[in-house]
């Protein structure tokens, strides 16, 4: 149940995620090496526009990518179609975005 637009949205979001995933993993490994505490980590991320943009774009890409992927599974394995399928996709995307952006605000707002 993918047309060209959804296909391209999923591929482009994957393209965005590749460097972000690598960056995220690298940061995680780096952050635990020297025993950085939560306070120290938040001290670096809060108020940082760079980290806000990094994880903000990550959340958008994940929301788009996962919602379209789950749409395909819901159609092929669950038999959903039509408007129900569209609503499910938008619902999943909105939920992921809401949860993710909350986390981004928590670590990057001053």
């Amino acid at each position: 149940m993918l047309d060209l637009k959804l296909y391209m949205a999923q591929r482009l979001s994957a393209l965005v995620m590749v460097p972000l995933v690598l960056g995220h993993i690298a940061v995680m490994i780096y952050a635990i090496q020297g025993g950085l505490s939560t306070v120290e980590i938040l001290g670096r991320t809060q108020g940082s526009l760079l980290w806000f943009l990094f994880y903000g774009s990550f959340v958008i890409a994940v929301s788009v990518h996962a919602a379209i992927g789950l749409r395909v599974i819901a159609h092929e394995w669950g038999g959903l179609r039509g408007r129900v399928l569209d609503w499910l996709m938008w619902g999943i995307g909105a939920c992921l975005f809401y949860v993710g952006i909350q986390a981004v605000f928590a670590v990057s707002l001053p």
Partner: protein, 244 residues
């Protein structure tokens, strides 16, 4: 060295879609025997009401494809000794298609999708015009040549798990033909083909699982063709001109 058993135990799916059943027949086994020979023996010697479909018997017409031990095969060129499991065969109509009766599947959805994919010739020249030369070395022609030996047997369609999960999906055969036409200098409706394969059931639904290429009896690779369609549709959407 194993000896050939005297008889094969053959289970055949019978009936129409509303009342399917399985019947078992004991069929004489021979050293050289195709699955189509077995089906024909059952109809001629055991049960003349058995319905099945075949024509050429030499792998050209594409009409005798069936599920043999769960795998789609062209029965006229499938040797029993290569596919029988302990002297047993399970024969059913092609998967992913409605059953008409017994082993005859309704091919209408399969061919309707060829039309829906614009997998038909769109003339670029009139009667008075000269022929467009076909140059085998030209890259687009070489790409088209990879897919033109399709015999419309429906095996790739039956093998495709995406078709099984998504009945709207146009399927490997129709998309491969659309791809060959897209690469054919004699076809005039490039935009029409790209639009037709970009809809809800279009090429972008393919998960590249490769069952089509795995089971194609002519060893074609529809998955490659579909990847080509994905590439060309994206390229067209970005507004880039084709340089091939």
């Amino acid at each position: 060295m194993t000896t050939t058993p005297d008889t094969l135990r053959v289970t055949v799916q019978r009936g129409t879609a509303s009342a399917l059943r399985r019947e078992t027949f004991d069929v004489p086994a021979y050293e050289n025997q195709t699955v189509l020979d077995v089906v024909t023996w059952i109809q001629q010697m055991a049960d003349p009401t058995l319905s099945y479909r075949f024509a050429c018997r030499v792998g050209m017409c594409g009409s005798c494809a069936m599920m043999v031990n769960g795998v789609p095969r062209w029965t006229c060129r499938t040797h029993v000794k290569k596919v029988a499991a302990d002297g047993e065969l399970d024969i059913a109509p092609l998967r992913n298609l409605p059953v008409i009766k017994d082993l005859a599947a309704d091919m209408d959805p399969f061919f309707d999708k060829w039309v829906a994919a614009e997998a038909r010739h769109h003339p670029s020249a009139g009667r008075a015009d000269g022929f467009d030369p076909v140059t085998p070395q030209e890259p687009a022609r070489a790409e088209a040549d990879l897919g033109i030996e399709c015999i419309n047997c429906g095996i790739c369609y039956a093998a495709c798990d995406t078709v099984a999960g998504n009945p709207d999906y146009l399927g490997p055969a129709a998309l491969q033909r659309a791809w060959t036409l897209l690469n054919d200098s004699r076809d005039a409706d490039r935009d029409g083909i790209l639009t037709a394969v970009s809809g809800k059931g279009g090429c972008h639904n393919c998960h590249s699982m490769g069952s089509c290429a795995q089971y194609c009896p002519n060893e074609l690779n529809p998955m490659r063709a579909i990847a080509g369609l994905k590439r060309e549709t994206v390229r067209a959407a970005w507004g880039r001109k084709r340089d091939a």
